[in-house]
Symmetry: C2
Subunit: 479 residues, 2 copies
């Protein structure tokens, strides 16, 4: 028992179980359509089947493998099913899984350049690649004053942007002394809930987030933004931050970033652009119109873990002025000092995020870009948009249903004309069937169904059969 | 080209490349001692070898695999080497890698109970298990008013605790209206830098963090804490938050949590306990004295991704009153509403953290606990502590060196008597050799070497050879 290897899994055992796990994952994707998309378990069902106490002695790996099938799988909502049309997709292509495996296997922690130079440099490099791939402004490049960093989610990216805006607006004083000035932030009434949450976290208060009016397409009205900024300034407040959305979560509305950007510039207000889902569309020249005006942004983020086939978590976040970010978040205790940091020749990404520690997340993004190539990524983005447009056409052609918002890309908002209760019942019935999973939103105070098409393996047949199921279920409920 | 499967890696290709990747990882661990522990590359070296532009067309997976060996590996600092004695360890046992593979493969997103009930329930269950395993107070159990959640890091856990404390101290008003009261937080001068960073992020200001004096063992002096709280109250400020450390990053000092807790209780101040590295020691009854007083804490965290063989990221965070956390962080937009949430019968972990999205991280923790069993985990904790104690004995026996702080567990702080410049040169020379990697801190304004023993595969022979190398290098430099 004094053998230091006791209890460890040996490399050979890992080879065996690792192959089993890889095969399990491959089989899972081959069988995924046989599972109900939305998990059908009831609250507490899994917990009641788990042992109350942890094991004193180790268990064989086969016990874990069989529990995955019997206990875990029934409690999974299958985000990777081609019949998953809920929320926004979260990609998990095989190349990204392989990149993530390597990251787990290497087990490094990239808080400083020195703690694994490859982790920092590959990340900077891939983020610079993406600037070109998405046609983002060159000032986001690390060779200029800007730079990109991988965050866990758009929530964290927006929070980070808000913090830098808060500090810029107070001459980097609120980090030191606390928040004394009353700062105001702006986002459309359709912006993601993470902006409100970021205001709460940053100590700025949710009441200091102004909701800007939207037009009939649910896009921000720049006139109203300008008016509200003026009113706040007149009242002695300090406008500090605007979040524009390229593709809102509710309906994929695209805010007029160029007009918003001009207002922000003239008012010296930080402009953050949240393109969490729809940023990926900019891979295709024909969808790049959605990004018009991004050259005026102080920061921008999109999530490869949504529509760019990279498994969660992977949000790409850029700033035009990395010094603003570093001044906001840098704390350098003695135990992290090292020659590379002190030389000034390297980036230390710990200063670009909330946490100190960080995974080697660039690997999966690098694998995805190299496996698919720009061409392959464009192919699937175009395919998804075409499928969504076809679906929108079917909705428009069935006079029991109506489209509820423009569908510029891959999200279709629609509803049955029979009212909120009917649509809620329709959605619940569809999701209970297990054949597809879709979610809802509320637009103009009406309950609206969202058909979000972006799961990697979704084909025309899945969309067609979802539509048939929607029609049939509506017919049945309408009786 | 209209085949929807175009460009995707097929399940069969994934089987093949997945097996290759598993084998690569197993080989990596078998060869890890042949690499220099600290990467020897210079800034920009990797980037200069990467293509300037991303590929238009996809590349074969073999290209990625050969680049891992040729480009990535030289830029890796090998945290999983048994000769890694820097910072704190970050575990990555094979069972945890397998659990993480499964998480990547399932590709689910656990923001709500409904979006994969197994993700939420397994997490709650394992967190409840750990309460018993570490002897934590029962009020942290989900069956009581508390509960646990997995965060990415102790930085995030501390931030989350600080936010809940901020809200409790202002009757949940600062989330709404912004921070109007001047709140004060306290931590010892040896607390982790993430506390200062959290103060900055939360808009509370780093100047409102009071550094409490430490005793000769670098542990917080409760008298000084009480004095400072009193002084702040007399000045009209509101004491809101105390962070006590069980095992500081600098020297593994253990704050007297029981005394601190009594002060917090009488003053109605939130007590957060940061046991990021040393929490794992509480698995062993004989080390549980380090946790005395934790029953008085409002929140507590430790990192299985440090010393409990679970790969990054995995921080376990508990609160005694989950309502305080949920009231602080909950925002519920229409598009996230669902029956399970509205029934009140489930936990939605998005309300327990900064981000909305979340990985299925409980899997790796579940695998680790089940593979090792409590017994196996205890075995390695005891082994590491014994190795560190032996090392401390060698240092004490060599009169050229001195111990610089108590070594209650697995971190030994020491230095050569020849002064700061000599110790810096000694460390740099050791790290440049590639044979081991260790880092430093500053205690009583003196440069101190840290020997941190907790890498899973570190054996007596690695510690012995590190000590020989330290002695020999000192002899050579001393000439």
């Amino acid at each position: 028992m004094n053998d230091p290897h006791s209890y460890h899994m040996t490399p050979d055992e890992f080879r065996r179980h690792g192959h089993e796990m890889v095969d399990w994952i491959a089989n899972y994707y081959e069988q995924i359509e046989s599972y109900p998309v939305l998990s059908q378990v009831t609250p507490g069902e899994l917990r009641s089947r788990l042992p109350q106490h942890p094991p004193t002695q180790g268990e064989p790996f086969t016990a874990m493998m069989s529990d995955i099938d019997e206990l875990i799988l029934p409690g999974i909502t299958h985000w990777q099913s081609p019949n998953f049309f809920a929320f926004f997709p979260t990609g998990a292509s095989f190349p990204s899984i392989l990149g993530d495996m390597l990251s787990s296997g290497l087990g490094i922690q990239g808080m400083l350049w020195a703690t694994s130079p490859a982790c920092t440099e590959l990340e900077t490099h891939v983020m610079d690649w993406l600037v070109g791939m998405l046609g983002l402004p060159e000032r986001f490049l690390s060779s200029r004053a800007g730079g990109g960093v991988i965050q866990d989610s758009a929530s964290s990216a927006s929070l980070t942007a808000l913090l830098a805006a808060r500090e810029r607006a107070t001459n980097y004083a609120s980090n030191r002394a606390g928040l004394e000035t009353r700062l105001v932030a702006y986002a459309s009434s359709q912006a993601h809930s993470s902006i409100e949450k970021a205001m709460m976290i940053a100590g700025m208060g949710r009441e200091n987030l102004r909701l800007v009016a939207v037009d009939e397409n649910y896009a921000m009205q720049p006139d109203d933004l300008a008016r509200q900024i003026e009113r706040d300034r007149a009242a002695g407040l300090t406008p500090a931050f605007v979040c524009a959305s390229i593709g809102t979560t509710s309906s994929n509305a695209i805010d007029p970033v160029a007009e918003i950007g001009r207002i922000c510039q003239s008012q010296n207000v930080w402009l953050h652009v949240d393109a969490a889902m729809s940023g990926t569309a900019a891979l295709c020249p024909e969808f790049r119109w959605t990004h018009e005006g991004v050259e005026l942004a102080d920061s921008y983020c999109f999530n490869p873990h949504k529509w760019m086939f990279t498994n969660f978590d992977c949000d790409c976040f850029w700033v035009a002025d990395r010094a603003a970010l570093i001044n906001t978040l840098s704390v350098l205790p003695e135990y992290l000092k090292n020659q590379a940091t002190q030389s000034g020749a390297v980036l230390d990404y710990r200063d670009w995020q909330v946490s100190l520690g960080r995974r080697f997340r660039a690997l999966k993004l690098w694998f995805v870009i190299r496996h698919y190539g720009i061409e392959g990524l464009q192919f699937h983005v175009r395919r998804h948009v075409a499928l969504a447009q076809e679906f929108a056409g079917w909705v428009a052609a069935d006079d029991r249903f109506e489209l509820m918002a423009p569908a510029p890309l891959n999200l279709v908002c629609f509803r049955h004309r029979a009212g909120d209760a009917f649509n809620q019942a329709l959605m619940d019935e569809l999701n209970r069937s297990g054949e597809l999973y879709l979610t809802h939103t509320r637009l103009n105070d009406r309950f609206v169904l969202r058909m979000s098409i972006g799961q990697m393996y979704t084909e025309a047949r899945h969309v067609a059969s979802a539509w048939r199921k929607i029609q049939d279920t509506a017919t049945r409920l309408d009786r």
